[in-house]
Symmetry: C2
Subunit: 286 residues, 2 copies
Amino acid sequence: MRAYLDCFPCFLRQTIETSRLITSDEKKIRHIINRVSLLFPDISSEATPPEIGREVYRIIRDETGVIDPYNDIKKKCIEQALSLYPEMKKIINSSEDRLLTAIKLSIAGNIIDFGANPDFELKKDINEILVQKLNISHYQEFCKILKKTKRILYLADNAGETVFDRLLIEELKKPVIYAVREKPIINDATREDAYLSGIHEVAEVISTGCDAPGTILKFCSNEFLEIYKNSDLIISKGQGNYEGLSDEPRPIFFLLKAKCSIIAQDTGVEQGDVMLLKAKNYLIYQ
Amino acid sequence: MRAYLDCFPCFLRQTIETSRLITSDEKKIRHIINRVSLLFPDISSEATPPEIGREVYRIIRDETGVIDPYNDIKKKCIEQALSLYPEMKKIINSSEDRLLTAIKLSIAGNIIDFGANPDFELKKDINEILVQKLNISHYQEFCKILKKTKRILYLADNAGETVFDRLLIEELKKPVIYAVREKPIINDATREDAYLSGIHEVAEVISTGCDAPGTILKFCSNEFLEIYKNSDLIISKGQGNYEGLSDEPRPIFFLLKAKCSIIAQDTGVEQGDVMLLKAKNYLIYQ
């Protein structure tokens, strides 16, 4: 998905939000805003939001020397999610359709995203999503492919959400390769976050090789691309991965909540809606 | 009030919103976004929001050739407000404190502002403000000064709101000079809008000489400044005028609703609150 015009003010807002996590020096933040503003005219109209985000956060890193401003927040999110794990497991155990419930929970886990939505109330949102219907649901097709697949490539999104991913992986009953970001970017999951969430106990953890807040194939490692091309089922979590891969002709199923009006517009839902969405350019021959 | 860092993304958002009123050509709008982004680093940290707004809207005007993109919206707002006039007059006639009710109504009229709040529901908001207490109220001091004043300088804000200003002017029972913007800027009132609202029947209509979306003294005409300096009571409507004049040591009473979090922060209220606020640097010797 190419960035919309409306993404530009949002990137400037995120610049301020992230910079304020690092420093209270308004002059310094103003300087960062200036550098990000000067970057905008150089951004191609073909660029996806995670490509722009990668550049924006590079500037913040360059200017402040802080590589992982969301480190504390990520750790807290993982802790919080781990404390919810037994309760979530019970919900799955007592549900009629374990897989569908686990899918919904993994989308609920996507709410843990300080980048797009700083005011989250986790438990409330989880319960809301569980009773909510998926606004777009390619669940039947997903189940058909899942049945036939030998191995699933699972693209992670945020730290904390990782714990909810583990719950879903446990219901997939197939080998899973779990791909995280190469380096810290916003609150996205890295190898460390995956390990802290216990993912290594249920899947093989790898890196995409990409350090953007979303999967951008041209920045991914050859090792990852090899796995990507040979996967017959890819689960993609969150907005950033959707933005990077929405046009790909691959068997990708996007699990996400439309946190902003732009994603809602692009997927044809209302802001706040949740979905299990098949990649539009993938044709399934059954 | 100096612009806050958070004003920059907001200006970029406004750039897109206003440009979309003029054209659906996304490439053109992207070019405007680029020019506004390049402007940001040159903006002094001392600049007020209306000073920045003046530059932003100049770029939009330069690029599109459209001088008054809000013309149709302004005319509709005035029409809508005029249709409410008899009803508002009745409310004042049947109220215990006519002046206070007229003040509240004139703040309610300030809701007609497509710049900061595109989703307004006029009648609903009017009724809400009428039952609401002013969150900051220097009403007693205002009444004292009003009693002694010979002539009031009234600084207009938006078109449409002008009709509500007329209702207040009719309750002031003193001569009023009503100052509008020199040229069209966003949905702010110009001479034409004041006349269409019938202000000339109850006050002398002048221009501040300034074409920013707020009163910035260094851009005002000498004629206006002469009147400004010799006024012993100034009523200032809306955020833009507040932003331009909040630090002035003059007998200014600001009537406004805090439409954004920044103004709320600057005045010490909650977003959405309404106030009759005396200029903080003006000391009243009674």
